[in-house]
């Protein structure tokens, strides 16, 4: 409710032209929601707003942000990946076992995973398949592979990974730095390069891109390969934080990643996505998921509900702004 009233009250104070303000507000909404969650945390517990506070609170935000970016690439092409969570889990199992014991085999497997994603993109384009069903099937495949590889939780992350995930850079907490890098890299790649525009165009108006002579097959493959790559990075970072693997470790990530993309201002169709927004959306979800609720002394039973409520409030605010956008 607070998000809504803040947003609604805002235009009067902003020194922007009348035509710009709703669109600008819309773009700023993901950041506003993050600030709001941070303010709430600061109000509830001042000590949390510190170098160590952020390092602790945002630790798990890195794999969530990476998975969200992976999902964003798929959504860019008007598809939806229902298998990203299971995929992250499988990558985690490979990381905690093969990557430590037989680094070459482990590396090859992870590269192979990216290859499988690229192949899925090709298959979906070639047979014109609904991505929801294909990734639904792949969800079972990754889950099965993960269970075969690591029937019981265990294994251990490679030492280099543990070391890099617990890095303590000066001044800026590591998760914040990582989020900035992820956002910058994907923003530049997807929004600022000419091929990035083609990729977004393949979701916005595939026919136009195809008639302009670009290969839609290649665009689909690139989008899926990027998703695979970021999925692998998500699994790696997750195991670097949790130190051991578990076949079910990534299960919640499918829904979180979709929610993160939408929270960050992405749309399901039309290639309208925002890399920076997606990362911010993931951070908001990660913060709202546990630290905020722990400080609010909310019973664990209701934490999932709070996540849902935050999604609803932010999206309601966005709908309000969009309506103004249309009216003007």
């Amino acid at each position: 409710m607070t998000a809504k009233s803040t947003v609604a009250a805002r235009p009067a104070f902003l020194p922007f032209g009348k035509t710009d303000s709703p669109r600008l507000l819309r773009a700023l909404l993901p950041a506003l929601s993050l600030v709001l969650v941070l303010l709430a945390i600061a109000w509830l517990n001042q000590r949390a707003i510190s170098y160590f506070g952020f390092t602790l609170m945002l630790n798990l935000a890195i794999p969530i942000a990476l998975a969200t970016v992976a999902q964003m690439f798929i959504i860019t092409g008007n598809d939806l990946d229902l298998s990203i969570g299971a995929f992250v889990g499988f990558v985690g199992c490979v990381t905690a076992t093969w990557l430590r014991d037989t680094p070459i085999l482990g590396t090859l497997t992870l590269l192979g995973c990216v290859g499988v994603y690229a192949a899925l993109g090709a298959l979906i384009y070639w047979r014109n398949l609904p991505s929801i069903v294909v990734t639904l099937g792949m969800n079972f495949v990754w889950q099965g592979l993960a269970v075969l590889l690591l029937p019981k939780p265990g294994g251990r992350a490679p030492d280099w990974l543990l070391a890099s995930m617990s890095a303590k850079p000066p001044l800026v907490p590591f998760p914040v730095l990582a989020a900035l890098i992820i956002a910058a890299v994907t923003y530049f790649g997807l929004m600022r390069t000419s091929y990035g525009a083609i990729l977004r165009g393949s979701g916005g108006n595939a026919a136009a891109i195809g008639r302009a002579g670009w290969s839609l097959l290649k665009a689909k493959i690139v989008l899926y390969a990027c998703a695979g790559l970021f999925g692998v990075l998500s699994g790696l970072s997750l195991i670097g934080i949790t130190t051991s693997g578990d076949a079910n470790i990534g299960n919640g990530y499918t829904l979180l990643s979709i929610a993160g993309v939408i929270l960050g201002g992405g749309e399901f169709v039309g290639g309208r996505v925002s890399p920076i927004g997606a990362v911010i959306g993931a951070l908001t979800l990660a913060l709202a998921a546990s630290p905020l609720l722990t400080f609010m002394h909310l019973p664990p039973d209701w934490q999932v509900a709070a996540n849902g409520a935050i999604l609803i409030v932010v999206l309601a605010a966005r709908a309000l702004i969009s309506r103004r956008e249309v009216e003007q």
Binding site: I132, A305, L311
Partner: protein
């Protein structure tokens, strides 16, 4: 051969029955014919639960791209708990409990639609957020709930008439009714029209809002019914009882030949797809494979079937 291929390409739902037949034959070849009938009966009983939610999901998916009900698992979980609490193990309260479960599901469907309509949230995210909240309610309300279903209700979910499960017979009748509603009534035609082109449907004077509302309400209500039936069949409510029906409900709809792009639904295919999925699991169980292999093969078969059936022809 060509005629068969042409027929298959115009009737994509046949793939699901073919698939079901193939896995069934593979399973009974392995057991040398032993338990062939029993396997089918068991598959029919289990397919019922997927078909019931599949019908609701089909109406929703047919509304067009982006329409999907992700709140079904949470809905089933909560409704099963509500049904068991209201029935309280007493045969006289069965009707009341069923009504409560249906009401619970209906309420969830209404909330879903209100989120979509009043807040203009995309349906996937609206039903997802709703499912988070429902899940929490279920966890705090239904945890440790150990109420057995009334004996009469539990028996009802297991009755067989001439060897065929009564629930399956009723569900087949319901499926036929749903098929008629979809193809032969103004309401069903409206759902299809909205899925094909929502703008054209609106200009043609269809009350788009009401039609969509009814589809989400129907999906919610069927989720509630499924929750009650599952609790009866598996002898008790459970927070996780609906978990597998998120993937299953979407899978049977799409494998059954309904278009994910909306506007084209297939009721007949639902049964084929549900039987296919259940028999696939039965087959893998008879082979005695481990859980990992079972998941892996299930996934590969789903991908293979959908690839073989192919998507819609690209529009030029």
């Amino acid at each position: 051969m060509m005629a068969v291929r042409r027929w298959l390409s115009t009737n994509p739902w046949m793939w699901s029955y073919l698939g079901a037949a193939v896995v069934w034959i593979a399973a009974i070849t392995f057991t040398r014919g032993y338990g062939a009938g029993g396997m089918l009966i068991a598959a029919l009983s289990l397919a019922v639960f997927t078909v019931v939610v599949g019908i609701g999901q089909m109406f929703v998916i047919t509304l067009g791209p982006g329409n999907v009900d992700l709140s079904l698992p949470a809905n089933i979980g909560l409704s099963s708990a509500v049904a068991m609490t209201v029935m309280a193990g007493d045969d006289r309260l069965v009707a009341l409990g069923l009504a409560a479960a249906l009401g619970c599901g209906l309420a969830i469907g209404v909330v879903n639609y209100l989120l979509i309509r009043a807040l203009s949230i995309p349906p996937i995210i609206a039903t997802l957020s709703a499912s988070f909240i429902i899940q929490s309610i279920d966890i705090s309300y239904g945890r440790g709930l150990q109420i057995k279903p009334p004996p009469g209700f539990a028996d009802f979910t297991n009755i067989q008439i001439l060897g065929i499960p009564l629930l399956a017979i009723l569900t087949v009748m319901f499926t036929v009714a749903a098929g008629i509603a979809l193809q032969r009534t103004v309401y069903g035609r409206s759902v299809l029209a909205i899925g094909q082109n929502i703008r054209a449907a609106r200009l043609a004077g269809i009350q788009v809002g009401w039609v969509r509302f009814a589809a989400y309400a129907l999906s919610g209500t069927l989720g509630g019914l499924d929750g009650a039936l599952l609790a009866g069949y598996f002898r008790g409510a459970n927070v996780d009882i609906g978990n597998e029906y998120l993937l299953a409900s979407v899978a049977v709809v799409v494998i059954g030949g309904t278009s994910v792009a909306g506007g084209k639904a297939n009721v007949t295919g639902l049964w084929g797809a549900a039987l296919f999925l259940v028999l696939l699991l039965t087959m893998l169980n008879t082979f005695g494979v481990s859980a990992g292999i079972r998941l892996l093969l299930t996934g590969l078969v789903i991908v293979a079937v959908i690839s073989a059936a192919g998507g819609e022809k690209k529009r030029a």
